[in-house]
Amino acid sequence: MAPEPPLLSMSGITKSFPGVRALDGVDLEVQAGEVHCLLGQNGAGKSTLIKVLAGAHQPDTGRLRWRGEEVTLRSPIAAMRLGIATIYQELDLVEHLSVAENVHLGHEPTAAGFVVRGKAARRSTAALLRRLGHPEIDPARLVGELSAAQQQIVSMARALSHDVRLIVMDEPSAALDPDEVDNLFRIVGDLIAEGVAVVYISHRLEEIRRIGDRVTVLKDGRAVAVGLPAKSTPTREVVALMTGRNVEYVFPDRPTAPAKGERPLLEVQGLSRQGEFDPLDLVVHPGEIVGLAGLVGSGRSEILETVYGARKPTTGQVVVDGKALKPGNVRAAVRAGIGLAPEERKAQALLMLESVTRNVSVSSMSRFSRAGWIDRGAELGAARAATRELSLRPDNPSVPIRTLSGGNQQKAVLARWLLRGCRVLLLDEPTRGVDVGARAELYAVVRRLADEGLAVLLVSSEVPEVLGLADRVLVLREGRVVHTAPARELDEHRVLDLVMEGSPAS
């Protein structure tokens, strides 16, 4: 037995959401004064794990020991009391409050128990900001007026305003410039010198080499490697751990003769959006699936939404079947035959209070109506035909859509566009929240739709999905296409190298 128990030890943590097992028996051990890196692809379970650690999610099973004693984190406050602070990727600051108010939110220095001592709060905030190397941030300023990088510093100051022993940082460098990253690393160095432990999440391998001590790799909700030395483990081995899969997805066969020669159905010409992605050219032929691979923040979803007209492009245009669309107009895109299965299915696609039928028919109501009067029999029949074609379960379109699994909800979205007679299908993370078993079926559906002459543009953060399903792949990094190749000529390692290669620091 070691003389000193580890600061934190999690063992056998499981957490399931409807249809998905996000964590499947994860172990994690963090020592005081170390930078422990958490690696894994999107969907590997990193976010769920840190939410468990922050007390935001309750694990289904598993044990959590804090300095050798078993604890339960019932709420974020409980985690904070122990000295665990989390800096999320999406910052959780109140924009309309000042820096000092944000830093002390929930534990304001008070006089007589309730009068907020604003001056004391500002003074201690200023001290924290000096310690973080950002004395120029005025504690009295509104957080909404600060840059993203400055907001991150405020978020960190908030973490440090507690008596913190463990800080979780979720991709802290994603929004930072190179010299800001250097400052971040300096802060991390100071923290571990004080004996604070840091759990550091990043996609950038060379950052992990610079500041990490040990690495835990997550894959498909499991820890596949625990406590690897961060500086000496070869890159090839880390990538292999991240990608080697227990579950092999079954991808449908590609057609033997790729659908070339014909006129492209979808043409994207010089399309760009300031600050999101650089001018992009691509064509998709009927029967073809083109995939965009890239990390979060590489501009994938933004590209799809701009093609669909949900965002207004800065430059460029979208051409369907030879006709240019009115830019930034969803209705023009839908009329031209484009359909989108968006990334956030519940927030962007589904009417959760409604039946499957109504969710499917919503984009083609004019087909079942005369002078606005809906023929409900025809509507039900058409919805039934469309959902049957995709073998949606249960085989009863009158059930509420919220009772369906993620995979079947996605099929309902596809059925919507099928019914509309759409010819260009934009798929944004089509298997997010879809459990492993249902994925193969969804892949087969997408391939069949392409075989029937649809042009499909697919975006996914899961590299194997893009490689397995698409005919052609465009690799994106920071809003730019860095590589284009037929999917057969790429493998997962190559793509991961391309999307992770380099960093703002290099």
Partner: protein, 339 residues
């Protein structure tokens, strides 16, 4: 599909209790629980009215009066139900009723007779709805604020037109419709209008693309937009519809009172919202029921009638109304969480 388990006559006392509850379940499955519970509340109220004032309350004339009084606010509530179902709110309905009723009863308007009054009331209502709709749908204003501004302005304009005086209507064809023994097709005219508006409202909400779009916009505006629905145009139409209902209600009020006043329609916005909410329309949008709203209106009007018959002051009425709103919403939250 339906469970018909009614036993043959004569063997009723041998029926096992299980099949009886089965039959009940069949009934419940068809008419939804919410509507039935509202009908239950109404039945209890009628019982209370019948017990406390058996002669006055159950008198045909009194029941006719209840329905007539429900008509004006009822028409407003139908429009309000559409707006709330779409995730919006219209605080200006009472003020629009007031403005339309005084504009339609000015000396100048009355020169054009029955048609002039009707036309003006409707056009003023639709015009106010148009302003609301443009501000909200295309000006990007929050419905609460835009219609609050309309409330203030319309009331102010109504006061300016009347100078605080009651404008008496002198058109006989209008006044005749307000007589106690006026009937059209055997029904008091106001009640007939209320019924027609209700039926059309129900059909539009449940059977037309307009209704579907309303529900979609209220349920998830972003999803509706990405599904290709013109969300802004739909919002504009909805406030136009609410304004139209206010115009019709103003005309009914003119018939009922034989006059136009700038104080008309006071707090109609609250009554209409309350009736829609206790009826089961979600304040957050995405689900609306015309049947529920109409039952909500009838419940409130019946309470008012019973309290008046029993000589209880309006302050007691207000307290009772508040309690009913709270109780209804709490009960709905419970049923929503168990289903």
């Amino acid at each position: 599909m339906t469970q018909h388990v009614s036993p043959p006559r004569g063997s009723a006392d041998k029926v096992p209790p299980a099949s009886e509850s089965f039959a009940w379940r069949g009934v419940f499955a068809r008419a939804d629980v919410r509507t039935l519970s509202l009908l239950g509340v109404l039945a209890v109220l009628i019982l209370i009215g019948g017990i406390t004032k058996p002669d006055e309350f159950l008198d045909t004339r009194n029941l006719q009066l209840v329905l007539t009084q429900a008509s004006v606010i009822g028409v407003v509530t139908v429009g309000m139900t559409f707006v709330i179902t779409s995730g919006g709110i219209d605080l200006s309905v009472g003020a629009i009723v007031a403005l339309a009723s005084v504009w339609a009863t000015t000396v100048a308007t009355q020169e054009y007779g029955f048609a002039g009054i009707l036309f003006t009331a409707v056009i003023v209502g639709v015009g106010c709805g148009l302003v609301n709709g443009l501000l909200i749908a295309y000006g990007g204003m929050v419905p609460f604020i835009a219609t609050l501004a309309m409330l203030a302005s319309a009331r102010g304009l109504a006061l300016q037109i009347t100078d605080g005086r009651t404008q008496i209507v002198s058109i006989n064809s209008v006044l005749d419709l307000g007589e106690r023994d006026a009937y059209v097709l055997g029904i008091p005219p106001l009640v007939l209008v209320f019924a027609v508006v209700t039926i059309i409202g129900w059909l539009v909400l449940n059977r037309t693309t307009f209704g579907r779009r309303t529900v979609a916009v209220g349920g998830n505006a972003e999803a509706a937009r990405l599904a290709g629905i013109d969300v802004r145009r739909q919002r504009l139409y909805l406030y136009l519809l609410s304004g139209l209902c206010c115009g019709i209600a103003a005309f009914l009020l003119i018939i009922l009172s034989g006059s136009g006043q700038n104080t008309n329609g006071n707090l109609y916005e609250l009554d209409a919202i309350a009736a829609a909410i206790i009826g089961g329309t979600l304040l957050s949008g995405g689900r609306g029921t015309i049947t529920g709203s109409v039952l909500g209106v009838l419940i409130f009007t019946t309470i008012t009638n019973i309290f008046a018959l029993n000589n209880l002051q309006s302050d007691v009425q207000q307290i009772a109304k508040g309690a009913i709103i709270v109780a209804a919403v709490l009960v709905q939250r419970r049923t929503a969480s168990t289903t």
